[in-house]
């Protein structure tokens, strides 16, 4: 490790808020000396042992009692000397301790700097770093769990398995090329079979990634319904504040409003929409067009209907096409229960093959607990097969490149393109994978060739 990180950094390492315990972390060559100015403890530290000690300020006022642990380089999170002070939580105490550390010569760490140092010292690979950053940014409990799973290396593990298989198939054909007269050439079907299998694996990663994405970034949710059915009331109810303008006049919501909603750890990104109907109002019709666009993106569609009167014919037509959209999760709310429901629930269930229907009065808050439970059930069910994987945009782009390369390879293979060109796609895949993990090992294929095949005349 380069000693250019001459300075020692300090920050509260736990999320801000009212947790019982917070951790102040110091990292860098002066960590121990800095800590000794803050923590009252007799000299002599056994690495990785927790010491119970008092924290005092410059005037010897005791600020807190804390557990302190010293982790010398390289066996620490950052690979540098680290001291962690496990103090009482809240906003005040941890920040005072950080101030004391800064007064003793440490510098306030930038966001993500501990992780940056861990990466620089080779403690983590790039995929792991990105998982940590995602962990820091995760918007919900499920997202955090997901990022934590990735921290165990699950994206790295999936990618490693893909790379391994690509190297295997590439090595075979490379060996045959560079040792042209020592092999009976393999049939191209071996390449086809192998690449089809790898492609399937890559597609699996992509769907796990999109599942992971919905969990961390929020499941795309759209509220639709005829005008004045109560969509905006629901939206306000979900986000817990009066953001949308609610009036008794149909067509009030002309632009879309979107907000993140945290339902006990499940993150939704909810969009309120203009009511769907035929209209001559130009501004309103623009809103309706946008609604259709957001429907395409949505994973969860919550249909709000005024159950106290007849459902407008044009909305039923809209609904017919909505239920035909692939890969959507649907929830139907029959609102305005307080005004007496006249809608034919059985007819709706049958006509639109809907399972999830809730009766409610959003205005009075009746049925909201049931609605939230239904949303959770709908979103978390039938995904047993697709485990979520936490993948950021950059990582995702690279995985998509793998898919594109493999798809092109299979297409070209079937149109009779020669082996040298097909191998180009595999080399490209390996370059992207190395980019993803931050490795730089270009002898991989040759190493594989020599370890697998006995070559050389």
């Amino acid at each position: 490790m380069n000693n250019s990180f001459a300075d020692t950094i300090a920050a509260v390492a736990t999320p801000p808020g009212s947790g019982g315990v917070a951790i102040v972390r110091l990292s860098g060559p002066d960590s121990l000396r800095t800590a000794e100015e803050v923590v009252r403890k007799s000299p002599g530290w056994i690495p990785r042992r927790m010491y119970f000690c008092k924290i005092s300020d410059g005037e010897d006022n005791v600020i807190d009692e804390a557990l302190t642990v010293y982790m010398p380089a390289p066996h620490s999170y950052t690979g540098e000397d680290v001291v962690e002070i496990h103090c009482h939580g809240g906003l005040a105490v941890p920040n005072i301790i950080v101030d004391l550390c800064v007064a003793a010569g440490a510098r306030l760490a930038h966001p993500g700097e501990f992780t940056y140092r861990a990466f620089m010292s080779g403690k983590m690979d790039l995929a792991e770093v990105e998982a940590v950053l995602a962990l820091i940014q995760a918007r919900s409990k499920d997202g955090a769990a997901l990022a934590a799973a990735c921290l165990g290396g699950s994206l790295s593990a999936h990618i490693k398995s893909v790379k391994d298989k690509i190297l295997d198939v590439a090595a075979r054909y490379e060996a045959e090329i560079d040792y042209g007269d020592e092999f009976v050439s393999s049939d191209m079907s071996v390449m086809r079979d192998n690449c089809e299998a790898v492609l399937e694996e890559v597609e699996g990663i992509i769907s796990m990634a999109s599942r992971g994405r919905t969990l961390t970034e929020g499941i795309e949710t759209v509220l639709i319904g005829p005008p004045n059915a109560g969509k905006s009331t629901l939206w306000n109810l979900l986000i817990g504040e009066d953001r949308a303008l609610v009036t008794p006049y149909p067509g009030t919501t002309r632009d879309m409003l979107a907000e993140y909603v945290n339902l006990d750890g499940l993150c939704l990104h909810v969009t309120d929409t203009a009511g769907l109907r035929d209209t001559d109002d130009f501004v309103e019709s623009l809103g309706i067009a946008k609604t259709k666009g957001s429907l395409d993106r949505a994973e969860l569609i919550i249909i709000v209907i005024d159950g106290s009167c007849d459902i407008p014919e044009d909305f039923l037509t809209v609904l017919d096409s909505v239920v035909k959209m692939p890969d959507k999760r649907l929830l139907l709310l029959l609102n305005k229960q307080d005004c007496g429901l006249t809608a034919d629930e059985e007819m709706l269930r049958r006509r639109f093959s809907l399972d999830a229907i809730c009766r409610c009065s959003l205005k009075l808050g009746q049925g909201t607990a049931e609605i939230k439970q239904k949303i959770r059930d709908i979103c978390l069910k039938d995904n047993v097969n697709t485990k979520p994987l936490n993948v950021n945009q950059r990582q995702r782009q690279i995985i998509v490149k793998l898919r594109d390369n493999l798809t092109s390879l299979l297409r070209d293979l079937d149109s009779g393109v020669t082996c040298d060109c097909l191998l180009y796609y595999l080399h490209d895949c390996i370059r992207w994978i190395d980019e993803l993990t931050g490795e730089n090992v270009s002898d991989d294929i040759l190493d594989r060739v020599f370890s697998k095949f006995c070559l050389g005349k």
Binding site: M1, N2, S4, F5, F119, M120, S121, G122, L126, E174, E176, I177, D178, Y179, G180, D181, E182, S185, S415, G416, T418, C419, D420, C421, Y424, H427, R431, E435, G438, E439, N440, V441, S442, I445, L446, V449, F450, C454, L455, G456, K457
Partner: protein
Amino acid sequence: MPHKFDVIIVGGGHAGTEAALTCHRLGCRTAIVTTSPFRMGVMPCNPSIGGPAKSHLVREIDAMGGEMGKAIDDTFIHIRRLNTGKGLAVQSIRAQADRPKYNERICQAVSAAENVDVIQDTAVSLICEDKVIKGVITQSGHKIYAGAVVICSGTFLSGVLHLGKLTLPGGRSGEAPAFGLSQSLKDIGLTLGRLKTGTCPRLHRDSVDFSGLDVLSYCREPLKFSDMSKDPDMSRPQLDCYITRTTEKTRQAVMNNLDKSPLYDGSGIITGVGPRYCPSLEDKFVRFPEREVHLVFLEPEGFDIDEIYLQGVSTSMPLEVQIDMVRSLPGLEKAEIIRPGYAVEYDYVLPTQLDFSLAVRDIKGLYLAGQINGTSGYEEAAAQGLIAGLNAARFLDGREPFIVRRDQGYIGVLIDDLVCRGTSEPYRMHTSRAEYRLLLREDNADDRLTPQAYEMGIVSTEQWQKYLTFKEAAASEIDRLQSRHLNKDMAEKLNRMYGVSVSPGPSLAELLHRPDVNLSMLRNCENLPAFELRLGEKIESLILYDGYIERQEREVKRMSELENVVINETISYKDVIGMSGEAVEKLGRVRPHNAAQASRIPGVSPSDIRALMIHLRKNF
């Protein structure tokens, strides 16, 4: 004997002779100092030239006016294509040389070069003053002076031969090694390593029973390496190669005698690292126990000599074990060994101490080429010899060195790998080492290198004219193929003559993308004469690789952004914030010219490169 030259070449092997001839073409007074003047260009190992990546190197040597392609075209006794059907980028040719004739042909080329003197002596030390090379001192005490020295010492530097327990000082079988020079290289501050390579036994042709063996036939197409050679005479006699296979008896002969092998007897006599890609038979049986059979090739060494080279049986076992091994092979039950196989260990200079012109860093005028840089193979050596000779001559003229880029030639890949990455085993060229492999084809070596080589003065006017003719012919044929569309008449003809069923409409260029159609078929249908083989390939590959070439060229461009980030020579890597200790050490040693080279050095990660870029932006 004159004592003052422009350039001294130490060694007359494949590297040394290409270096000398290149200097000659640039008008330098050149001396080749060699222990064995009549063995210049000799093939001490397998009697063949070419094969994947290696034939590409020969084509590049030829595109730069070199000798190897022409010499093998004149002297081959067997030529064939490899990798047909795997694509034009990896297709290659390989020839068996008439070994004595090839050697003679190279000696003739050197003696025809009027400003090249051959001095029979052994260079034992360098004359170097204030980090400037002045010449060499020979074994007989002569001081020979020159402005530049190119060392191409092959396996001779402190060479030791192994045959069982027997160890003999030697550079090649029957030839004395060069002692002294290693120490001289150490004295000027270079770090040396030790490598090992091996060779195979030679058999007497008459003692072999070829009747039951598989035949490896030569090719009946007019194949050649050099564009400057006349199309080979198809009636020229050629010889076949043969294939046999190891048996259980062979395995036993090897495994029961491992204690007699200097490699496996635990004595640690051989410390040099051998090549993974060309293992001895001992290695093959030990490292790949699951593989029951290994192929063995019987290659003729010439019309007038009775030697058969037993390719695949590289060994350093004692002679009596070699006899058992050889006689366990079908067809060789009564074989007589003329010369046993042996292993040779030799010193090499860790090539990361060179710069990209093959000059030793910090010593003005000293160049190294060939096995001394850790490579293996005649073609690899010749390619480096040409570049080292060229740059030595350019240095004397006060010109910038010529550096082949990785997207420009296998020569570029080879030198860049050596300088950036070094090597701990004898380095052999493989096509998979070239990331822009689809751009580096046999058919376009001239497009890649001839214009620059002509400008530098190492390509003859005759060759330049031939290049221009090819280029023009290719361009106009491509134009024609793109603008002409398949008509009904021709579609019928294609069907009748070749059974290709295709409906009229597409351009002829589009048609070429079909795997069942090729250029000579189309020209046949149109009653047009066939092109010279290479020209035809050039045209086909430009059409077939169109989309891939475009993709690779985009990558080259992307990489050239890093290529364009020049690293100031005064940089102190330990001041680069965020760079790993390993990268600081490696970059400090290799001292790359630009960020692209830096990115190829093992131990330098993408994040190190990012840190470097930030540092360069901030400080320079």
